[in-house]
Symmetry: C2
Subunit: 153 residues, 2 copies
């Protein structure tokens, strides 16, 4: 009996739209830094803790080497990171920040606040949104174990 579901009723479409809308708001801001949104995310991870292997970066971001390898090459071409084969384990490539990459963090520090302002939501709403999204992501990962692996009790 059931007919085709309406587009505007779907949480998943809301998610897809909101995600694209959010990165669209980031785009002009990040253009000042010369970064795309995924590149910015990779830099965020590196600013937190560096150097990092490609796989570690992938675990944090939920991306595989197929996405990260070319992305990191572009960051290297921009002079923000350096990729060096590990001496101990020749399979690994350690991603280091260059001085330029490190100093970019100062320029980027004001971004989250600016974006929070643009969102038009209260701090409480944003916090609750983040939590719900986290639950959703976690639930999805349980099913399609594409990321995640460290839940060994």
């Amino acid at each position: 009996m059931s007919e085709a579901p309406r587009l505007d009723r779907q949480v998943c479409f809301a998610l897809y739209s909101a995600s694209r809308a959010a990165t669209a708001v980031y785009r002009p801001v990040l253009e000042d830094l010369g970064l795309t949104y995924p590149q910015y995310l990779a830099m965020l991870v590196l600013w937190e803790n560096e150097p990092r292997g490609v796989k570690e970066l992938g675990d944090e971001l939920g991306l595989d080497s197929g996405t990260l390898s070319p992305l990191l090459k572009r960051l290297e071409a921009l002079g923000l990171v350096e990729r060096r084969r590990s001496g101990e384990d020749e399979r690994r490539v350690a991603v280091h920040l260059t001085p330029a990459g490190r100093s970019l963090s100062a320029k980027a520090s004001s971004i989250p606040q600016r974006l929070a302002d643009a969102a038009g939501l209260s701090a409480a709403e944003l916090e609750q949104l983040r939590e719900t999204l986290g639950k959703l992501t976690a639930a999805s990962m349980l099913r399609s174990d594409r990321f995640a692996s460290g839940t060994t009790p």
Copy 2:
């Protein structure tokens, strides 16, 4: 003073992750229909009301012809839609469903419920999430008027 923000604190990353996680859950389900997620969205719009011009589809989905033209060609190659130049306005291309495209709607009708189950959230949480995401998308559109245009009072 402010240091680089932490990745796991960012609503935007939560949004980006949740969106990718959600489409990852859709992927195997949609594979049975032979559709990708954006193709499924386009079909949803057409199931609701058909035929539609490329621009109308784009307004509903927030996509431009650069994305939709090749996507619709692939749907046409699958035998699900037909694109016909409008007689009245030769610029327009009307996208029609084929019988195969129309009948696919029955197969797709159970999908949203299956996905809602997989989300691991209550109906109330899902509803609230959808609302918050809608607000966020709307707020973003006000700034970068990339979609939206029909708010002439």
